[in-house]
């Protein structure tokens, strides 16, 4: 029987293909103009037999072998069957034959192969077995629906690994470590898509989804990324050539792209940029500008206009200072305290809010002189001195030892109070009253002057905190190896307020929430004005689409804004259909 011969060949025996070919040719010819005889007397049985054969073989093989081995075997069998057609079957049989083999070998077992313990997709990814994965991909491509299974498995693994990374974060709490981890994953999976999936677009898309999923599952991701870039700008990019710096910033931007809450990132980025600019902490102005340019390319001018404004302010301030110093010099007015001023445009920089504290007379005189100079050329403007920022050099003499103390503005105010007081201590309340510094900050700046390493002042109470009735004296036995002593500030852990940056662990800062409300309303009004009437779901979809470049609004928030606008009579509900809104001119 012909079937028996085929069976033997499949078992690995050599058969006489010539004879097979002749017999089958005969069957074809008997049918004269059709293949009916061939089909009835041979093909039908052949196909059924083939199906049964592969059903059994695949199941058996699967239970005893690893996934990569199975893939290889399947490939082999597929090639064999093709060769069988070439050598003695009718070409018309090929599509029917291949379809059966593909179904039995691939479609029937795709999920099991992918999920196989110790050799399936997860194992391949964990052990970097790109070639094995590619073989599986190539095999699955014969049955396109199975490629979905493969892609999903990779996607799920990325999500799982990503979530793990986030959870590890809980313990490690180093944003830079987190971002580096994500970047490593990106590189790894970029390679997987390129090599194993041969650059397939759908695979790339699935992986992108997975990244977006786990990155946005943690609301601190935006903050972490900002901290990562901050570290790059302060030290990480040191010694990098132009191209390397560009590459590293590009990578940071790829993560930025995944972020849903881009406006939260902007808010953190602005805050850390402000600190860097004002403190002169950036390694390279060029790198800063490159980063902003990249963000602009991603999100448009609106997104970065304030950041660029900040750079402008710094540049203009330098020119202003030059002009000021020349004027001061030429008018022979070289006396008094020397100041260096950065003039900041209010809208661009993160708001500080603290009112001006009481400055020493000499300092007041100096800033008044600057005020006069500046307002002469910018008469419409108002200058508000941000005493919560800035630093000062205070010359101090400790039992004959002269030092220059680099301290904050607040600390300068505190220290000048001690001038000429000798052994008479100052109490906390006296200091508070004389300087007008807010309580929390006062304690923080004071305690920084009493630390073991920088005990410039002696504190009456023992222990690490300041008591309400505490008093302070200059520590005349203060010593330091350096002439210029930089006094570090204790961190703000106890003082709970943190300007406009973080709002509790993750979550959206208040300023950003407010911003979003305005943006939502503006968007709703704009859309309704253009469309006149719109159904609820369409409105939500339009608003989300318009704002998606900045953040993803949740439907409930949009609803609240719609309600507010209805109350304020910008919109109304249609009488006939409660789900439709109309614009009220």
């Amino acid at each position: 029987m012909l079937m028996a011969e085929v069976g033997r060949e499949r078992d690995g025996e050599l058969i006489d293909r010539g004879v097979m070919k002749n017999v089958l040719q005969m069957l074809l010819e008997i049918g004269i103009d059709s293949d009916a005889v061939y089909e009835r007397d041979f093909e039908k049985m052949f196909l059924e037999g083939t199906k049964e054969f592969y059903r059994r073989e695949s199941q058996e093989y699967l239970s005893r072998n690893s996934a990569p081995d199975y893939v290889r075997k399947a490939e082999k069998r597929l090639n064999e069957e093709k060769s069988r057609v070439t050598h003695y079957l009718s070409p018309a049989t090929e599509p029917k034959l291949m379809s059966i083999v593909e179904t039995e070998l691939i479609a029937a077992h795709a999920q099991s192969l992918v999920d196989m313990d110790k050799s399936g997709v997860v194992t391949m990814l964990e052990n970097g077995k790109v070639e094995e994965l590619r073989n599986m991909f190539d095999l699955f491509c014969l049955v396109p629906s199975t490629v979905d299974i493969l892609r999903s498995a990779v996607c799920e693994h990325v999500k799982r690994t990503g979530r793990q990374l986030v959870q590890d974060q809980e313990r490690v709490k180093d944003p830079v470590v987190f971002v580096k981890g994500v970047l490593e994953m990106r590189d790894k999976y970029d390679a997987v898509v390129e090599d194993a999936f041969r650059g397939e677009k759908k695979a790339g898309k699935k992986v992108k989804e997975a990244f977006e999923h786990f990155i946005n599952a943690d609301s601190r991701s935006a903050n972490y990324l900002a901290v990562y870039v901050d570290e790059l700008m302060r030290s990480g990019l040191k010694g990098c050539g132009e191209q390397e710096a560009d590459e590293r910033l590009d990578k940071a931007v790829t993560i930025f792209r995944y972020l849903q809450d881009k406006d939260v990132f902007e808010s953190f980025y602005k805050a850390s940029l402000a600190k860097r600019l004002l403190g002169g902490k950036s390694i390279s102005d060029e790198c800063e500008k490159v980063m902003v340019a990249k963000l602009k390319a991603e999100c448009g001018y609106q997104f970065t206009s304030k950041l660029e404004g900040m750079f402008n302010d710094m540049r203009i301030s330098k020119d202003t200072m030059k002009g000021y110093k020349e004027v001061a010099r030429s008018s022979g007015d070289g006396e008094g305290v020397e100041i260096d001023v950065d003039v900041l445009t209010t809208g661009y920089w993160p708001s500080q809010g603290a009112p001006q504290c009481q400055l020493p007379e000499a300092v007041k005189a100096a800033i008044e002189k600057f005020d006069q100079f500046y307002l002469k050329t910018h008469s419409g403007r108002k200058l508000a001195w941000q005493t919560s920022l800035g630093n000062a050099e205070v010359k101090a003499c400790f039992e004959g030892r002269r030092h220059e103390l680099i301290v904050s503005t607040y600390q300068m105010c505190i220290l000048t109070l001690f001038h000429g007081r000798g052994e008479v201590p100052l109490t906390l309340s006296e200091i508070k009253e004389s300087t007008g510094i807010p309580d929390g900050e006062l304690r923080r700046h004071l305690i920084s002057l009493c630390t073991p390493k920088h005990r410039i002042l002696k504190k009456a109470s023992k222990g690490k905190t300041i008591s309400d009735s505490d008093s302070f004296l200059v520590n005349s036995s203060f010593t330091s190896k350096l002439k210029r002593v930089k006094v570090p500030l204790v961190s703000m852990k106890e003082t709970a307020k943190g300007s406009d940056a973080a709002a509790g662990a993750g979550g959206v800062p208040k300023a950003v929430e407010e911003d979003r409300r305005h943006l939502l309303e503006a968007s709703i009004v704009r859309i309704m004005k253009a469309r006149k009437t719109l159904k609820h779901n369409d409105l939500i979809a339009e608003v989300s689409r318009q704002l998606s470049g900045r953040f993803v609004p949740d439907p409930q928030s949009v609803k609240k804004r719609i309600e507010s606008l209805i109350e304020r009579e910008y919109l109304e509900r249609s009488e006939e259909d409660r789900k439709t809104y109309s614009y009220l001119a």
């Binding site: 409930q556 609803k559 609240k560 309600e563 209805i566 109350e567 509900r573 409660r578 809104y581």
Partner: protein, 179 residues
């Protein structure tokens, strides 16, 4: 029937005369027909207008007419909605755009009680327990739609629809309590 207005006491008397409770929906119906604009006050002109609209000249006529309108309202969705919205407007203070929650709750009980009871009790309890703000007009309006269209077990409610957020919160609250 004092000089030019009927005020609270007068309304109490009026109610006694026609045999209804002061909290009865009939009082509101009269105010509606009379086109009143301030709670607990009928000007002579308004009162007259009301009686004319109801074609009533005696207390007995008035009582009967009010019953008639009540029945009519409950049969005509459109009319009822008109009346329902009037009730809100009427109860708002001069110049105010929204109704304090306690007044809204009392008003709901008058206008919806006995007819839309499925959700009414839970709705009022929810508001009394959790709401401090006043009820905007839009929310008042949609509450009627809610009472009319949403199943007792809340199964056909979709919070992605255009319901006011307060109603979404109410449903979420009910579902949470059910667990």
């Amino acid at each position: 029937e004092a000089p030019d207005m009927i005020t609270e006491d007068g309304i109490v008397t009026l109610c006694e005369e026609i045999g209804i409770d002061t909290q009865d929906i009939g009082v509101l119906i009269l105010a509606w027909k009379a086109e009143c604009d301030a709670v607990c006050v009928f000007t002579r002109e308004q009162f007259g207008r009301g009686l004319t609209a109801l074609a009533a000249s005696t207390p007995r006529d008035l009582a009967a007419a009010l019953d008639g309108v009540k029945a009519q309202l409950f049969g005509d969705d459109r009319e009822f909605r008109e009346f329902y919205m009037f009730a809100y407007q009427y109860s708002c203070e001069e110049g105010q755009k929204s109704l304090p929650v306690e007044y809204a709750v009392a008003l709901w009980q008058i206008v919806l009680g006995g007819r839309y009871d499925v959700h009414l009790e839970r709705w009022c309890a929810f508001l009394e327990a959790t709401q401090k703000n006043s009820i905007p007009r839009d929310t008042w309006a949609l509450t009627l739609d809610f009472m009319r269209s949403v199943a007792p077990d809340l199964s056909n409610f979709d919070d992605n629809d255009a319901w006011p957020v307060l109603i979404d919160d109410f449903v979420a609250n009910c579902q949470q309590e059910a667990q």
